[in-house]
Amino acid sequence: MATAELTASDYIQHHLTNLTLGWLPDQGLVFAHNAEEAAAMGFWALHVDSLFWSIGLGVLFLIGFRKVADNVTAGVPGKAQNFIEWIVDFVNENVRGSFSAKNDMVAPLALTIFAWVFLMNLMDLVPVDLIPWAFGQFMGLFGADPHHVYMRVVPTTDPNITFGMALAVFFLVLYYSIKIKGMGGFVGELTLHPFGKFGMPANLVLEGISLLSKPLSLSLRLFGNMYAGEMIFILVALMYGHNMVLSLGGGVLQLAWAIFHILIITLQAFIFMVLTIVYLDMAHQTDH
């Protein structure tokens, strides 16, 4: 809905700015009114929209699963239980296939990642303007200027969210590496391969990079895919409202991209889960 007073770049900018809550030196604790203010808030700021949708969807997932788990039966399952069991079974198969050590945390972790990331990605299929527009109108009731009310509904297009999850996984990898192999074993793994002990610095650089690339690739893959996907939805949305042909073309494109995106959001959730399992499996391997 690129209106006359809003240029295309403004529109895109608006869509890519988070609802940021933070301190400004001259205004105290406020929501940022534009991207510059958001940047000025520095590290001690919160993306309220990302966190809201992330937590909301996470809670939705847990409540849904918990409800089924409460009434779970070993007999004939109902429809909801059937569906949940299908997902649980799928995750369990993957964990069993890739994770050889014994750890009761990995499977629930994988399930949480898969379902949660999937739900967060799924928000990408909600028409890009719908929720931000509604939220802008809603905040307008309280006297805010809708053009400066930001709302990003897809948490996984926020690097904070993807890095947060990837870092959590990374810390788990470090924790289990040290727990299983011992500090010496872990340091040895980082320094004694692949060139033996005389190539220690080179080993450290190589292994260090490979270790650090894990959370980086994990989070950037998800973020990149979702960000690009959202960007395309935004660009397609720019086609609306000019004339009939462009609007129709936009409609077709949006539908086509949304259908293709169903694959991507599922795939990205799946990849995040599988890589987490694999990284944790590597952390549990004692023989290198």
Partner: protein
Amino acid sequence: MNINLTLISQMVVFAIFVAFCMKYVWPPIMKALDERATKIAEGLAAAERGQQEQEIGRQKALEEMKAAKTKAADIVAQAQKRYNEVLDEAKRDAQGEADRIKTAAHAEIEQETNRAREELRERMATLAVAAAEKVLEKEVDASAHKALLDSFAKQL
């Protein structure tokens, strides 16, 4: 696109969600799945057992049937034998009874005959005496001539 506190918040939330999932979601569902797997395995085993038992039962039933048939044939044969025995006995009894009745009848007939003969003889004697009285025109002393009359009667 700024990295800020959101990142740490997300990490904390993530940890909480995983902990919740690990404690309240995964175990009951997994338990149910395992239980069902066990149930199904047991059910399959039971079905297998049932089939075997059915086979055994069928064999048993066949044997029973065979035994019953043999027994029935035995009983029929015995009954036949007994029937013949009873028949023979009855025949024998009937024959005996018939013989007895026949003997009794013979004896009676004999008796009757004797009695008739005796009566006839006595009548003859009386008749003869009467005839003789008529002939002699005089009273014959029956008692005095009894021996004579008796011998006379015997010759008749």
